[in-house]
């Protein structure tokens, strides 16, 4: 989820810059500045309460969203912590963003596909059983497409990837609890 945070930081930075150039704040009295700072703290507190973590502003200036994603993935390559490359990646509730661990797994298989040009990949998106089945069908597709985008970023060409969604229809685990749901929100990689 680091990607999301950095992008968010960029957005916040933008809004803060706008604040500091607002008439009445710039070059104003100490009291005005204190008021402005209090406002910023309030907003940060509010954001934290809404589950958004506000990160440091100093070192992100000028970074583009796209270069960030590239840089982030590049950084992962050195990390050898993950050795289990089961061909399945998991997602958060109602989420379709690919996390760091999943990115490493996808990178591993992208490399294999580049080494074996005849390998074809089918990405099957799945959701847990909660909520509406038809919405889940669309959500499963979003997950599979998010995984496909990562594969393409690592050089796998589009025409070697098929995306399919089963929504909540084919759970990996049959239970009706958080543990089963965690296992069911997934994209499975199938090669042929």
């Amino acid at each position: 989820m680091r990607l999301t945070k950095i992008v968010l930081t960029g957005l916040l930075l933008g809004s803060l810059t706008a604040c500091s150039t607002m008439p009445g704040v710039d070059g104003s009295t100490a009291e005005d500045r204190r008021t402005a700072e209090a406002g910023l703290l309030d907003r940060n507190k509010q954001a934290a309460e809404q589950g958004v973590e506000v990160l440091s502003l100093s070192d992100t200036q000028g970074l583009q969203g796209e270069t960030l994603i590239q840089g982030e993935i590049g950084g992962l390559l050195d990390d050898e912590a993950i050795r289990d490359f089961s061909p399945v990646i998991y997602f958060g509730y109602d989420q379709f963003s690919v996390d760091e661990k999943s990115t490493k797994i996808l990178k591993h298989y992208a490399d294999q596909m580049l080494e074996n040009p005849r390998l074809m990949l089918k990405l099957e998106g799945h959701t847990d059983e909660r909520g509406s089945p038809s919405y889940n069908l669309a959500l499963g597709e979003k997950r599979a497409k998010a995984a496909a985008e990562v594969m393409m970023l690592y050089g796998v060409s589009t025409d070697r990837i098929t995306v399919i969604s089963f929504g909540e229809e084919q759970p990996a685990e049959l239970g009706h609890n958080e543990a089963a749901w965690d296992k069911n929100r997934r994209v499975e990689l199938r090669f042929n």
Binding site: P133, Y135, A138, I164, F166
Partner: protein
């Protein structure tokens, strides 16, 4: 938000295990369990119908009527052993007997066997206070396999007379069952009577079946089948003929919903990149794209006049219900309560919008489109897939209980409920069919 669901002090926990004796089909009936009724359910007497002659009658018609009235939640039929007498003719009724039991209405009748396994059936509804017959009706030469249907028609007429609302007993449900045999999933699209009897398979598949949707005339079903390995939208006549894959585009093909005039099918396709709603002219198969958004747009439901669709979009981050006027393309947000609202369904009378609602857990939410009042009408685990009875009085939905997918029916005021399950599998994705006979109100 004011939950109307209340735990009743008086719970009718009557289990009706349908006997498989009268039906030789391989399909297991849906079992009905009436779990809740109205506190002030109306006492009524259904006198076992008199059987003329010596031939046994294959269906307990008065029993079916009594069961229907009870499961509506609005009536409390007297137990047979509590009946003070069993008059067969109007002139044999001792009205004082019934008044003292607080009974305002009597239902009586007879079944007369005819040659070739056919039957004449008579039914009378008697008003005890006014001491007169309110309904008197005869069905002639009814084949054995239509006796249950006659009992449901009777129930509809009685319900209309006593509540002012047409009954929806003589209607059908479509749903999907999933049974695991030898580690393999077996999906079946079935249609049964509204009481779960007489289930008939329309499609069996090893791959998922989803989203049955009735044509307004009740002759066809649209649904989603994964038989090719991917989701397709299929239209099929109830008699099994004219099966046609109408949408097999790249990406998902899902959530079919019939327009009120029966000429078009709204559906969700992702052929252009992400899930959007399209309307297909069923005659020409021409497609019109009605939503254009990077977010998920799905689960279209038509307004009663066919001029708007309600749909689900997660354009605000989580699924919420929106409405689009088809002529202008104007979109307005409809659901504001809770963090998840999906699968809108419009009641046939146009008054209510049911949806899958979540704040914490998943239940059926009901928005009154006249008053804008929102209520949660179920207290279920994993409630989803709401579908209205054609009289707009009840909602069938899917939920999970005892680790099993089951169907439940709840009244729109959340007070009466019943559960339908199959013995050896899951039941999901219910769709309540239209009237088989238009009520003459």
């Amino acid at each position: 938000m004011k939950p109307v669901f209340q735990v009743k002090s008086k719970i009718l926990t009557l289990l009706f295990f349908t006997s498989g004796l009268m039906l030789s089909t391989a399909q297991a009936n849906l079992v009905i369990e009436i779990s809740e009724g109205y506190e002030n359910a109306l006492p009524i007497a259904v006198i076992p119908f008199q059987v003329e002659g010596v031939v046994a009658v294959p269906e307990d018609i008065s029993g079916i009527v009594s069961h229907n009235l009870r499961r509506s939640g609005r009536f409390a039929p007297l137990a047979n052993n509590a009946l003070p007498s069993r008059p067969a003719q109007l002139e044999n009724i001792v009205f004082e007997q019934w008044r003292s039991q607080d009974i305002d209405h009597l239902i009586m009748g007879s079944v007369t066997p005819r040659p070739n396994d056919r039957y004449d059936v008579e039914m009378r509804l008697v008003d005890v206070l006014r001491r007169q017959q309110v309904i008197g009706k005869r069905w002639r030469d009814v084949p054995r396999q239509q006796l249950r249907q006659v009992a449901h028609q009777m129930s509809d007429e009685i319900y209309l007379e006593l509540t002012g609302v047409p009954g929806a007993f003589n209607t059908r449900l479509a749903y999907v069952t999933m049974k695991i045999r030898d580690g393999e999933r077996n999906y079946t699209l079935e249609v049964s009577d509204s009481d779960g009897h007489n289930p008939q398979p329309l499609l069996r598949s090893k791959m998922p079946i989803m989203s049955p949707s009735w044509s307004p005339d009740g002759t066809k079903l649209a649904y989603v089948s994964f038989e090719t390995g991917r989701s397709n939208v299929v239209v099929q006549n109830l008699d099994g003929t004219n099966r046609e894959v109408v949408a097999d585009f790249p990406g998902i093909n899902s959530a079919p919903s019939w327009s009120p005039d029966g000429k078009s099918l709204a559906m969700t396709l992702s052929k252009d990149g992400n899930a959007d709603i399209y309307i297909m002219n069923l005659q020409t198969k021409a497609l019109r794209k009605v939503t254009r958004h990077w977010a998920i747009e799905t689960e279209a439901a038509w307004s009663v006049d066919g001029k708007s669709i309600y749909f689900n979009s997660d354009r605000r981050g989580q699924p919420q219900i929106f409405k689009m006027e088809l002529d202008s393309g104007n979109v307005s947000r409809i659901s504001f309560q809770g963090n998840y609202n999906a699968n809108p369904e419009v009641s046939p009378n146009g008054r209510y919008l049911a949806m899958v609602h979540s704040n914490n857990g998943f239940n059926i939410g009901l928005l009154d489109l006249y008053t804008n009042e929102f209520n949660i009408v179920t207290d279920a685990f994993l409630g989803e897939s709401p579908s209205f009875a054609p009289n707009s009085d009840m909602i069938v939905y899917a939920m999970n209980r005892d680790n099993k997918g089951q169907l439940a029916v709840v009244s729109v005021d959340g007070r009466a409920s019943q559960i339908l399950s199959v013995a050896d599998g899951q039941v999901r994705e219910p769709a309540w069919g239209p009237y088989r006979v238009q009520p003459n109100k």
